[in-house]
């Protein structure tokens, strides 16, 4: 009886592992490949470890098997999340069949900060985003009016954070300095264009 249970679990685990191998080879982009490998590897390791523990039928083996299962269950999602996040910033492409990319426009690709919707019930969506003016930025030293953020890019500057103080609702004649942080509001497309223009 124990043999049958152990053998079945090991075969299930091995089958999951093979699925992981097929998944990493056949899935169309990195993110779906990761989805296949992490889930399948976690399940595969879980089944195989349980099968081995049942085969030995000793407490010390069971403890080790459970330790491996716990480790894999805890570490695999964290590692996959970090790889996925880093790859998204690195510009690893999504497959052509992707229907919706819900992250689009919500990440500040320069500061790696996730931004939330300013007014989630509105359509089109409005985002509030923080962007730093670096000393290399084309906007450093210009006034707000000269940058054309409002006129050309349709992104409104809500406030400027300069060191420890904040300039709320800045006028067009406020001069931007390197190190300033702009708090912008606009649609994801407008903000993307604005961030591109701010550059640096």
């Amino acid at each position: 009886m124990r043999e049958i249970l152990s053998g079945t679990l090991i075969m299930i685990g091995a089958a999951f592992m093979l699925l992981g191998g097929i998944g990493i080879l056949r899935m169309p982009d990195l993110y779906t490949r990761m989805s296949a490998t992490t889930k399948v590897a976690t399940l595969g390791i879980g089944a195989i470890m349980l099968g081995v523990a049942i085969h030995f039928g000793e407490l010390e083996v069971l403890t080790r098997a459970l330790a491996v299962i716990a480790l894999v269950l805890l570490t695999t999602p964290v590692a996959a999340h970090m790889i996925g996040r880093a790859s998204y910033f690195a510009g690893v492409p999504l497959c052509k069949q992707t229907v919706v990319n819900e992250l689009q426009g919500h990440y500040d690709l320069r500061t790696h900060e996730l931004e939330s919707l300013a007014l989630p019930e509105l359509e089109p969506q409005l985002l509030i985003m923080r962007v730093q003016i670096s000393h290399r930025s084309a906007f450093a030293g210009k006034t707000l009016a000269e940058t054309g953020l409002r006129r050309h890019y349709r992104a409104t500057v809500l406030a400027i954070r300069r060191g420890s103080y904040v300039i709320p609702n800045p006028d067009g004649d406020v001069q931007l300095l390197p190190g300033d942080e702009l708090i912008l509001i606009g649609t994801p497309e407008q903000l993307r264009e604005a961030v591109k223009a701010i550059g640096g």
């Binding site: 090991i10 992981g20 191998g21 081995v52 491996v68 894999v72 570490t75 590692a79 970090m82 690893v92």
Partner: protein, 90 residues
Amino acid sequence: MIGMTQIAWIALLVMSLAVVLAFVRLAYGPTLSDRVIALDLIGTLAIGIIAVYAMVWGLPVLLDVAIVLALIGFLGTIAFASYLERRAGP
């Protein structure tokens, strides 16, 4: 009647095939991230292979190796991820 040893060898064979498939992805890429997850999967497969191997040879001590491998694989992937992220942005 198939015994435990035969089942274990079949499992080892199937997992080795999975390693080969992951290795194709590791060699082919196309991005660095693909290679990192392929390496990660090979590490996970190695844990499974070691566990079944421990069973075949009746050596439960080998499971300690599996624990260490699980830890090191995680640390390696985290290191790769932080390197990838640093390379991606400022």
